[in-house]
Amino acid sequence: MMTATTAEKTTAGELLLDIQDLHVSYGKVEAVSGVSLQVREGQIVTVIGPNGAGKTTLLSAAIGMLKSQGEVNFDGHLYINPDVEIMVGKGLGLVPEKRELFTTMTVEDNLLLGAFMRYRKGDGSYESTLAEVYSLFPRLWERRHQLAGTLSGGERQMLAIGRALMGKPRLLMLDEPSLGLAPLITREIFRIFADLRRQGVSILLVEQNARAALRVADYAYVLEGGNVAMQGNAADLANDPKVIEAYLGLASKHQELLSS
């Protein structure tokens, strides 16, 4: 199923995120070694690759959850070893793989906390963002007084995305949003990415589910062993024999089944 037409994919604006030669190490082990990556405004960019390729590490370092070396340019400003608080304030949002919800608090409280930074800066318009998030995920509206810990896997993912959207991010980074979700829900969530892009939110998507990711993305990077092994237009990569063999072939289809 095509979720976005090719006409939409070609429009790309200013450079929003520009990572140059980023290195991240855990002790002596280098998990990301010299990755450069760009996201333009209005783009969906995906990073695919096997387990342990450094995809999650890359996102964590970009928002400042991990110490890094190299340049992170965001919205025209250079950050070296960025700070989470500042990056969130500047409009970078991350939906982490484990979602990291506030399980003993209500769905609505979780969402409101997503706007904490805006509230702190005196931006009172987060109430209207709350309405937008509820219209994007009607399920969250139905469950708004429930504790986040009582939600199903798909609802948790919606809540994690909704919470990140409450911060009005200019760039939303998502780590394995389809992990552990039923195919139907995965499809729904990917449909929402296309909606978000239409609303002007750029997206950096890390996915194991390469097939779905390449379908929705404009541009793609293949990360292997902490390095960018390949990059190009998502449509081109989807037709690349090496990518097909490694990530879209029978083997990966099997993996997709396992993870769903």
Binding site: E85, F102, T103, L112, L113, M117
Partner: protein, 345 residues
């Protein structure tokens, strides 16, 4: 024991219990948000009481210098960070604000004749001098090691406690301090006498607990602190910085500790080293609540106060023994019923 004595002891027990409850709540609050067991909490109690006592007896206190030194060191560290990480207008404004505050406090304590101002203002001034010590304590001793193991945090916490006791001796001397009651009125309920200070303690404690409840349930800042306690990583991703959460909880704990000290100062004579045993009793309450449950901790703390009061009557030599033995059955019960919930999801 007759009815009248029982009422008297009950009154004492509930008064102390209310204070222990407040301390238990602060201990849990600080522990869940920062994973620090706040051993120096008792020092805020004694500093509060002894500062008030010093004001009323007309002695000068060096408390303001402690505040000044902590703020100056804190600002120096902030400036070093600014030089390293680049200029940030908001942080510069904060530094100037903090230094100005410290300067204003020095001026106030030097210029005012503290024994002559109304008691209400003495209370406010004591608060203004001591509450900022809380966040500064976090800034200086805990913020640099915020991601350390809980055991390291505990050891630092003990060290800060020991230092605070020593500084307390330096600031207030070895004599005990006691203050005038807020009002001298005595209420009669039939044949029973109710001391007005008892009512003050109970009313203020309840008001404070209601205030805390509302702050944590209704305001986004309160929710942010709860969120940090629930999921530190998730909170960081929302831009709720651990530094902010740590300073805010330490400020609240200092506020509660100092207020508790001011409340009990007219009832008990406190010495520079009395704080530890007081906060330890709050800690017993907090343990009864499993260091998680606020209502259980509050009820447990009031229980501690009552047990203490009645054991004072029946076996006063064993008062402390009985109170601290209380913790054992609860620890056994806790360890039998607890399922390791740390690794959620």
């Amino acid at each position: 024991m007759n009815f009248q004595i029982a009422v008297l002891l009950g009154q004492d027990g509930i008064t102390n219990g209310a204070i222990y409850a407040l301390l238990a709540l602060s201990i849990i609050l600080v522990f869940t948000v920062t994973r620090i067991l706040l051993i120096p909490l008792g020092e805020f109690v004694t500093y509060g009481a002894l500062t008030m006592a010093a004001f009323q007896s007309g002695r000068s206190t060096g408390v303001v210098w402690l505040l000044l030194i902590m703020i100056v060191i804190g600002c120096a560290l902030d400036i070093r960070n600014l030089l390293k990480n680049g200029y940030d207008l908001r942080k510069v404004q904060w530094i100037i604000l903090k230094l100005a505050y410290a300067g204003a406090m020095v001026a106030l304590t030097q210029l005012l004749t503290l024994s002559e101002i109304p008691m209400f203002l003495q209370v406010i001034l004591t608060m203004m001098l001591l509450v900022p010590v809380g966040p500064m304590m976090y800034r200086l001793f805990f913020q640099p090691i915020a991601s350390a193991q809980p055991l390291v945090l505990l050891i630092v916490s003990i060290a800060v406690h020991v230092a605070m006791v020593g500084i307390g001796l330096l600031l207030f001397g070895p004599e005990g301090g006691r203050t005038q009651p807020f009002s001298d009125t005595v209420f009669r309920l039939g044949s029973v006498m109710l001391k007005s200070q008892t009512l003050w303690v109970i009313i203020v404690s309840i008001a404070l607990i209601v205030f805390l409840f509302l702050a944590f349930e209704r305001t986004l800042y309160g929710k942010a602190l709860r969120a940090t306690a629930v999921n530190r990583m998730g909170a960081r991703l929302m831009g709720i910085s651990p530094d902010f959460a740590g300073k805010a909880t330490f400020a609240l704990a200092a506020f509660i500790g100092v207020l508790s000290g001011i409340l009990i100062a007219p009832i008990t004579t406190l010495y520079f080293d009395s704080g530890f045993v007081i906060s330890l009793k709050g800690f017993v309450g907090a343990i009864i609540g499993g260091l998680i449950s606020y209502p259980l901790a509050a009820i447990g703390a009031v229980g501690v106060g009552l047990v203490e009061a009645f054991s004072m009557f029946w076996a006063s030599d064993y008062k402390e023994v009985i109170v601290f033995t209380l913790i054992i059955p609860f620890l056994i019960w806790r360890s039998l019923t607890s399922h390791h919930v740390e690794d959620e999801e």
